[in-house]
């Protein structure tokens, strides 16, 4: 069968990506079907297309056509197939809209088959051939443009930070509270996201503990990761790595953002084959450490309504950050209720993998988020805390879609609230 240009290019990308982990994912599957119940898509809508093994099989067929002896010569015997335009378009649709790369299937697979790696590979094939969702490409390229031309936004950014600093001083009642930017030699470089909501609460916390910190001029989000495009992802991460080196900080602290944390903490050292001269951690780990070291005096009465916690897949499952959020919650919340399952077994909210940024898949992600909505409902909580921006956006949408009647907050919001509550109580008692 004659392949057109994009199919040919996609196959070249597949060949290029074939390292040992991918070969393993494409060759190993016991077809036991355990992964079905592990996937929130399948739990929400039990159909064969939602079984992770079925999804991976769609690329395995193509792989076998070239890499399996029988696949080459007697394709029908091993169900091997040529890739064509129609099949490729279906693969792309599946990889971007029917898998959030949450890795719950991998954790529940007896053989540890990494189906999200297969989906990432399809995403990489799509990106290289111009078939990836253009919004994800545009968001990634905007971030790269910021790194290449900081002058296009820096002046306005600094103006905004100066205003946020005034807001911080009013909130804390401390005229000395600061949001330092580009401070050379600071101990911590904090990397937020675009928007005040990821800057003010950590600023309250850093000022409260007297941290020697500075704010990154860049945002932590890395849409290159969702595209499966390591080159774009590296360029986006490099802006922050270079800034940290330039400022000679000892630690980079990443905002509440699952994929950004995964990219900077776990992927970046491999991408750059480098041991960085600084540590990189999630703000969740750092705040939990402040609490454990007694650097923060917090009053759980500040957050008196029942709170449940949604574990971000990237933080909990990929990064093992599931104890730290509970250290924080126990310190700042009066009535904490676990949703079940939780921790590394938590269900994805349905918004991961870049889906919250793709309006065309809104209905799909609302349906896929049904298990999460039901989990939340069962807790009876009034506040859902999460430590990932994508999760928070999705949880907010699920709240509206399923009428959950909850409020979605970050862990740092609850901590900042507990700090301000104590300050107010102290001020009124004096």
């Amino acid at each position: 069968m004659a392949n057109n240009g994009s199919v040919q290019k996609a196959l070249e990308i597949l060949e290029k990506q074939l390292n040992q982990p991918l070969k393993t994912a494409l060759e190993v599957c016991a077809r036991c079907g355990i992964c079905a119940e592990a996937c929130h898509y399948y739990v929400a809508e039990p159909k064969v297309e939602h079984v992770p093994a079925y999804r991976a099989e769609q690329l395995r067929k193509i792989y076998r056509k070239k890499h399996n002896f029988f696949g080459k010569y007697v394709s029908w015997l091993v169900d091997a197939e040529e890739l064509d335009d129609e099949k490729f378009n279906k693969l792309v649709e599946m990889a971007f809209s029917e898998c959030t790369l949450c890795r719950r299937c991998t954790f529940n697979c007896p053989l540890g088959v990494d189906t999200p790696l297969v989906m990432r590979t399809i995403r990489a094939m799509a990106t290289a051939t111009g078939k990836a969702p253009e919004i994800l490409v545009m968001l990634a390229d905007s971030a790269i443009a910021k790194g290449e031309n900081p002058e296009i936004f820096k002046e306005m950014f600094l103006q905004q930070i100066s205003q946020l600093e005034k807001e911080l001083q009013e909130l804390t009642g401390n005229p000395e509270a600061k949001i330092p930017v580009e401070k050379k030699g600071a101990r911590v470089l904090y990397v937020g996201l675009a928007g005040a909501h990821t800057i003010i609460p950590p600023a309250i916390i850093f000022n409260e503990v007297g941290e020697d910190w500075t704010l990154s001029i860049y945002e932590a989000a890395n849409y290159g990761v969702f595209l499966g495009d390591v080159e774009r992802a590296k360029k986006i991460a490099k802006r922050i790595i270079d800034e940290a080196k330039r400022l000679k900080v000892q630690e980079v602290v990443v905002a509440e953002c699952g994929h950004a944390c995964a990219a900077l903490v776990w992927d970046a050292p491999n991408w750059f084959a480098e041991k960085f001269p600084f540590r990189i951690r999630s703000v969740v780990e750092v705040v939990a450490e402040y609490i454990q070291k007694g650097k923060l005096t917090l009053d759980p009465k500040a957050n008196s309504e029942p709170v449940t916690y949604h574990d971000s897949c990237n933080l909990a499952r990929t990064g093992g950050i599931f104890r730290e959020p509970r250290i924080i919650l126990k310190a700042v919340v009066k009535d904490f209720r676990e949703m079940n399952p939780n921790g590394i077994e938590n269900y994805c909210c349905g918004g991961g993998g870049g889906l919250v940024a793709l309006p065309e898949y809104y209905e799909k992600r609302m349906r896929a988020g049904k298990p999460k909505a039901e989990q939340i409902k069962r807790t009876g909580a009034k506040i859902v805390a999460a430590a990932c921006e994508n999760c928070k956006l999705q949880l907010g949408d699920l709240n509206n879609y399923y009428n959950l009647g909850v409020e979605v907050k970050g862990l740092v919001d609850l901590v900042a609230n507990a700090i301000l509550y104590r300050k107010k109580a102290y001020a009124s008692s004096n």
């Binding site: 253009e134 919004i135 545009m138 968001l139 390229d141 905007s142 971030a143 790269i144 443009a145 910021k146 031309n149 296009i152 936004f153 306005m156 950014f157 103006q159 905004q160 205003q163 946020l164 996201l193 675009a194 928007g195 005040a196 909501h197 945002e219 989000a221 849409y223 940024a357 309006p359 921006e389 956006l393």
Partner: protein, 80 residues
């Protein structure tokens, strides 16, 4: 700023957080003809950094961007 430029579409981005203002802007501009102008009104200060970067990447013209009290207003002209 709106007094001087004819606005074809007003985009209410108030209350939206990163990356949604940019997502909505990208979507809205697709349906407009070349030469059309969008006025965006957002409450997330992140747009002050994100909109100029988006304009540069997408090749659209950022006519102006400014803060008015707690709102951020920008004008984007579709040039391609």
């Amino acid at each position: 700023m709106t007094e001087q430029v004819k606005v074809d579409l007003v985009l209410d981005l108030k209350g939206l957080l990163c990356p949604m203002p940019i997502v909505k802007l990208s979507q809205a501009i697709k349906d407009l003809p070349v030469g059309a102008v969008i006025e965006g009104i957002a409450t997330d200060p992140g747009v002050m950094a994100d909109v100029p970067a988006w304009a540069k990447t997408s090749g659209q013209e950022l006519i102006s961007i400014e803060q008015r009290d707690k709102e951020y207003r920008f004008l984007i002209k579709k040039v391609k």
